[in-house]
């Protein structure tokens, strides 16, 4: 029977992992599933690779969700995007072209230990669940642990703080595994997208300084096109711009690291809403939030197939 999976509710880590297996099993020509390592607590870090299998060289888009455990709409979006890509491949010429010409590396839950903990113990947990040698407090902010301006402004060196940068860069096995994968595939990954919540923003580098990126005009127009596509769904406005001025300065972020690592289009989405529900976005809003964001991501991906002057 058709695999019954409800994309309009939030799912536990176990449900998401069995869903990934099912997507891999039922779509052998478009999906490949593999693990890039294990979390601090030993859970596998699964990736779904979407795209038509071809021998020829394909550019790729990386999308990770669930870096911060309490931001549940992130993993919901990654699942929704996979569903949309696979279900619309037959009838949506834009999605078919993207899947034929690009690969999408989707990481539905980056911070698997933290996400599990937010389901079982602390609904507002943010960090990983690694142990600290000297303090009782656990966890590192997985978006302050990257080797780019590590532990500078906007990060904390105190293990009990929510923005704790960790004992050293890439101290977190989850961060190290993704950094290693992206370093290995840096030639083909042309866009890095990290899904967070909440603020309704589309951010691009830099986070750690008030400076303009060299390919600003290309990235700026990609962001503008993306938020316009997003707006076309339900009229929801997203602000966009460099993270340092649009949101706040923060160091050691995955987006800055991806950009510094040679990925020319690096973005961070802060999905709905602007604070009415905050991290508790109701399940009734999963559909519109993911529908509009899928339009934005498709626009970013389509932009990779054109040359930016």
């Amino acid at each position: 029977s058709e695999f019954q999976y409800d994309y309009e509710v939030y799912h536990s880590l176990e449900e998401i992992q069995s869903w990934m297996y099912e997507m891999n099993r039922t779509h052998p020509h478009l999906v490949d599933m593999f693990s890039i390592g294990r979390s601090f607590e030993g859970r596998p870090l699964y990736i779904l690779q979407l795209g038509k299998r071809t021998r020829s060289y394909k550019k790729a888009v990386w999308i990770d969700c669930g870096v911060h455990a309490r931001e549940w709409i992130g993993p919901a979006f990654c699942q929704w995007f996979v569903k949309e890509a696979l279900h619309s491949y037959k009838y949506d010429s834009v999605m078919r072209r993207l899947m034929n010409q690009l690969n999408f590396y989707i990481m539905p839950v980056f911070n698997v230990d933290g996400y599990h903990y937010s389901w079982t113990t602390d609904r507002f947990w943010r960090k990983t669940r690694s142990k600290n040698a000297k303090y009782q407090c656990r966890g590192v902010d997985a978006n302050r642990n990257w080797k780019v301006k590590w532990c500078d402004e906007g990060a904390s060196s105190h293990p009990c703080d929510d923005t704790y940068c960790g004992p050293f860069p890439e101290s977190e096995p989850e961060v190290k595994a993704v950094a290693k994968f992206l370093r290995k595939h840096r030639k083909r990954v042309r866009a890095y997208i990290s899904i967070h919540a909440y603020a309704q923003m589309l951010l691009y580098p830099y986070s750690y300084k008030y400076a303009t990126i060299p390919n600003f005009s290309c990235v700026e127009s990609a962001a503008q096109n993306a938020v316009t596509a997003l707006y076309s769904a339900y009229g929801v406005r997203y602000r966009y711009g460099p993270a340092s001025t649009t949101l706040y300065v923060s160091s050691g972020s995955s987006m800055d690291w991806a950009y510094k690592n040679g990925i020319p289009y690096a973005f961070a989405f802060e999905l709905r809403d602007t604070g009415y529900f905050g991290f508790l976005l109701p399940e009734t809003l999963i559909n519109p939030t993911c529908t509009e964001t899928t339009r934005a991501v498709k626009t970013i991906a389509s932009g990779l197939l054109k040359k930016c002057p």
């Binding site: 409800d6 509710v9 939030y10 113990t121 602390d122 609904r123 507002f124 943010r126 902010d141 906007g154 904390s156 703080d161 929510d162 923005t163 909440y198 603020a199 949101l247 706040y248 300065v249 923060s250 604070g275 009415y276 529900f277 905050g278 991290f279 508790l280 976005l281 109701p282 399940e283 009734t284």
Partner: protein
Amino acid sequence: YLYNNRYAGDQVIRVTPVSNGEVEELRRLFANLTVDLWRPNSAALIREGGDVDLHVGRNHTRGLRAGLQRAHIRHKVLISNLQSEIEKQTGYRSSRKRR
């Protein structure tokens, strides 16, 4: 109850400091109270004119709001009972399952 009802009576409050003095006052308040900052992620990132969304435990809501009123800092309650909002967020599924 989800999470053993640990969030019953907790609140989410939005504070909007309009001067540097109010930013400093907020930081002082948060230093003494355990608050879970939702936005921005740390007190160091609080800026004049920027919204601060914070989750405060039921035992501290009164103290915090008294402190904000004393300092005449504009604030409003975004979520008055966090536990019921948590139940609602995924409770929708159980009602759908019942249907």
